[in-house]
Point group: C3
Chain length 153, copies 3
């Protein structure tokens, strides 16, 4: 059945956002040779990034919600690239960059916002490898940025 993932999005009452434009001279996605690369996505909401620093001005809970926004944008870019999200064979890798204070330690709980939602939407195809690390700062002051690589059927 086509549209399986679209149906799950509807069942979860989730709507993918409009795709965000790159901030510069690059592209949001490339699909070549069975792999789909997605540029680092920021937690864009209503055209602005959710800003702040974990371990300082942003709570782990709010950071996880921002990571969900990054994941929505990743899937929106994947849909723009593939038209049909059912073509995803597997999410291979998420790289989660957390805008974090020097003594912050809960990066995994922040990026879980993206990982959990990915698995909720894509099922086993959404189970990915990942790295979660702390950045001194991020573009636009965003509190999190996440890049992705998918395997495509």
């Amino acid at each position: 059945m086509a549209g399986e993932i679209e149906a799950r999005l509807k069942a979860l009452d989730l709507t993918l956002p409009e795709v965000a434009s790159p901030l510069a001279n690059y592209v949001p996605f490339l699909h070549i040779n069975n792999q789909l690369f997605i540029s680092g996505q920021l937690p864009m909401r209503d055209g602005a990034a959710v800003t702040g620093k974990l371990g300082d001005t942003v709570s782990v809970e709010d950071g996880a919600k921002a990571a969900e926004l990054c994941l929505f944008n990743i899937l929106a870019q994947a849909k723009a690239a593939l038209r049909d999200l059912d073509r995803i064979e597997q999410c291979l890798q998420l790289t989660g960059y957390v805008n974090a204070a020097p003594d912050f330690t809960d990066h995994p709980k922040v990026i879980n916002g993206a990982s959990d939602l990915m698995v909720e939407i894509l099922g086993n195809k959404g189970r990915h490898t990942r790295a979660a690390v702390g950045c001194s700062s991020l573009p636009l002051g965003a509190c999190v940025e996440i890049g992705a690589i998918f395997a495509i059927e």
Copy 2:
């Protein structure tokens, strides 16, 4: 001959650790289409991460030893994925994240702990591309985190 790399591990008197469980809703490895992705591995020893910050509370020497622990965990995950480490064609990429103070400059010497050990164990198949960068903080307060991609025969 099968088990060539296992034999080298024995000759070096090295034992791979038990694989570490992911800290969240993701998987430690994915092997698809001749590539093996390994999640970012922390310097786990006896169930706890080696913590601290390079350029502050951790010396370059101790950071390099922590990077060796990351590499052991990477190879343990690779073995869990492949059963036989001889199936590795090449380590394509290590990404080395160093928990580092703002004025630290010796990231390469830290990640060398992993790079040198990789080549010692895998020989030319262990010669990888890499990036070594400084992070403001890392999960669990770990002093280093390393992710990897392998080409598989």
Copy 3:
């Protein structure tokens, strides 16, 4: 026609630098199975890295010029790997690490130095996905480091 990209480099009056040696026990590039991985390149000029921190001692303009130097080194490594840059099918991914103060927000403008030059030299084949993030510090005190993955014909 062979040498199309070399011809464009000449038309732009650009000369690729001598390839920089790795700072440790790893390799600058690996070309396997239609992908070319390039190690993180620093802004080397006359054998020394351009140093400093964005949002502190380095301006966005000077950071962008340093990113250009990283890109030159990436292409020099690609040429050393492929002999002929025309074999590049597409630049798949740039990962741009900016040595940045905690309140810096213009990482995209810095990495644009590399992205713009890539597209100027490679045309549409140079249009890549990318992430741009802030690092607490970088090897040798460099102000920027950029890694790359290319698809090869």
